[in-house]
Each structure stands twice: as C-alpha cells, then as structure tokens.
C-alpha cells in the first residue's frame, strides 16, 4: 500500500513537494565535482607543502655543515680497545708463548731438569767428546 494513502494525505501536495525538492536538488556536474573536490581535500593523502620542502632543505644543509666541521677537525685519537679484545690478545699471546716453549723443549738436547748436571759434568752428555 502506498504510504500516501495509508496516511490519508492527499497525493497531490506530497508529490508536488517531492518533485520540488528533487528539482531544487538538481545541480550541474560542476557543482558535484566541486563538492567532491572539497571532500577530497579532507580525505585524500596530502602532498608535501612548499614549506615542507624548505624545512627539509634546511635540515639537510645543517647536517652537511656539521659533517664538514667534523671532517676538518683531523684524525681522532684511537680509542682504547674494548676489554674483551684485550683479553683475547692476552690469550693469543699466551698460546703463542706456550707453543714456542713446547718447540724449544722438543729441540733441547738435554731436558730442562738435567741442565745443571750437564753444566757441572760436561762430559756426561757426550762421552765421545773426551
């Protein structure tokens, strides 16, 4: 059932009202395009404004200046090695020393413990020398 009939309202007035509103709401394409653009200004991602580029250039200039100042200061003192590196160096040195000691012991003709005897009794080590 039509809403106009169920409410008992004469159709003529309501129809005229609806037609008037529809005609009054009719706009040309330029109006809708302008309205869409206005809405889009709030909903579309914004491009970087001109002042944004200026700020970016200023920041880049400051960074370049700071870098140039740092480079003209000359070589910086070498920082002390970190503790872990020092320990590693000590360990490496100890290993080398130990290997050298082993090599000396292997090449030694008289064991280290008999060296005093060898010193006191030179002939004891090589009987043919006498």
């Amino acid at each position: 059932m039509n809403g106009r009939e169920e409410q008992g309202q004469p159709a003529r007035g309501l129809d005229a009202w609806a037609i008037e509103v529809r005609e009054g709401a009719a706009r040309d394409d330029a109006f809708w395009a302008r309205q869409s653009a206005e809405i889009g200004r709030h909903t579309r991602p914004r491009s970087v404004p001109a002042w944004g580029w200026v700020a970016a250039l200023g920041t880049a200039s400051l960074a370049a200046t700071a870098l140039a100042i740092l480079m003209t200061r000359g070589p910086q003192p070498v920082p002390a090695p970190a503790p872990m590196l020092a320990v590693a160096a000590v360990v490496a040195t100890g290993d080398d020393q130990w290997l050298m000691d082993v090599e000396k012991a292997v090449l030694r003709e008289v064991p280290l413990a008999f060296e005093p005897v060898d010193f006191l009794l030179p002939g004891a080590r090589d009987p043919d020398a006498e």
């Binding site: 007035g13 009202w17 008037e20 005609e23 709401a25 009719a26 809708w32 309205q35 889009g40």
Partner: protein, 193 residues
C-alpha cells in the same frame, strides 16, 4: 533529475569494511546526490545542505574504522547526515539565522516559482502552494519525524529501511510518520483556511 541507482547503496557494509581512501571517492560519487537531496529537504537551505553533505562524508571518513559492516554504506551515511542535522538544529544560533533567512528566501523563491508559460497556471500555482506549505510544515517537525517523513515520501524507503537508518523499531517509525503527517495536514489546513 538524477537519482542514484548505484548498487553500492545496497552493498552490505561488511564488504566495504575498511573504506580505504581510494575507494572513498567512489562512495562520495555514489551517494552525494542522494544525501544532498535529503539534507536539502530537511534544512531547506542549499548552502546548509551542501555544507552538511561535505561534513557527512568527512565525518564518515574520519570514523571509517568504526564502521562495523552491520548495515549498508548508504544507511550508515544517512544516519550520520541525520545526526548532523540534529546537532545543527540544537544550536540556538543556527535556529536564529535559519528563521531569519528562511523568511526572505521563501518570498524570493515563491516569486521565481511561477513560470509564465505554465500550461495551467492556476493548477501549477496550487500545487506549488501545497508544496511550499508542506515544506514549511516539514521544517517545523522534530528531526526524527522530519527524517522519517523525508526518507518515506522523498526517498521512498520502506518503513523497515527507515527503522534501520534511525536505529529504532518499525513501530516507532510508524508512530513518527503518523505524527508527522498529522502535523503537516493540520498546518497545511490552517494555511488554506
């Protein structure tokens, strides 16, 4: 007259959940005419209707994450638009300016509305008188009655659709419509007598 027949109005919102910025342009194009027409009927002020149409879309975009998909996009937008009209109407300052400009605007519009080459000037004038009287009576309704009346008789929505838009029961909508029509009939009758 251009009527939006785009199916996106009836697309369940869950398929448009997220409402990405790229898709939002399409939603604007699909719904701007219908929303403007609705808002013009409710405010009777073209500038106000334009401004509220824009505000509806901007607010929808800002709150697009809150869109749950439990109704169509068109229903959701209509709900936002009606809420904006309600908020605007609550402003006493707005009411003052609205009443001030409505008197002048109606007189000017009335003078422009009678064409010289009308086939039956008397009938056309009578119809326009009815339309004007109804428009004035609609403007004096409460926002919810005005919304129900406009959605029913301008947008030709079903009572169930109106209930979904207004977020109330079907019986409540029928009550709003009955009161609105009774009020309009009473005011139009007074104008004629």
């Amino acid at each position: 007259m251009t009527r939006s027949t785009t199916s996106i109005i009836d697309v369940p919102a869950r398929r448009a959940v997220g409402l990405e910025a790229a898709a939002f342009d399409g939603i604007v194009r699909a719904h701007q005419r219908r929303l403007y027409r609705l808002l013009l009927a409710m405010t009777r002020n073209p500038d106000e209707a334009d401004s509220l149409t824009q505000e509806t879309f901007v607010r929808a975009f800002e709150h697009r994450d809150a869109f749950r998909g439990d109704c169509a996009v068109g229903t959701w937008l209509t709900r936002i638009a009606i809420n904006l009209v309600r908020d605007r109407t609550r402003s006493s300052l707005w009411r003052f300016w609205q009443s001030l400009f409505r008197r002048d605007g109606d007189a000017a519009a009335e003078a422009e509305q009678v064409p010289d080459d009308a086939p039956d000037p008397a009938r056309a004038l009578l119809a326009r008188e009815d339309a004007r009287a109804i428009g004035e009576a609609v403007a004096r309704l409460s926002v919810r009655q005005r919304a129900a009346f406009t959605l029913r008789y301008l947008e030709e929505q079903s009572v169930a659709q109106i209930a979904e838009t207004l977020g109330c029961e079907v019986g409540t909508v029928k009550s709003h419509l009955a009161r609105a029509v009774a009020s309009i009939r009473r005011e139009v009758g007074h104008e004629r007598s």
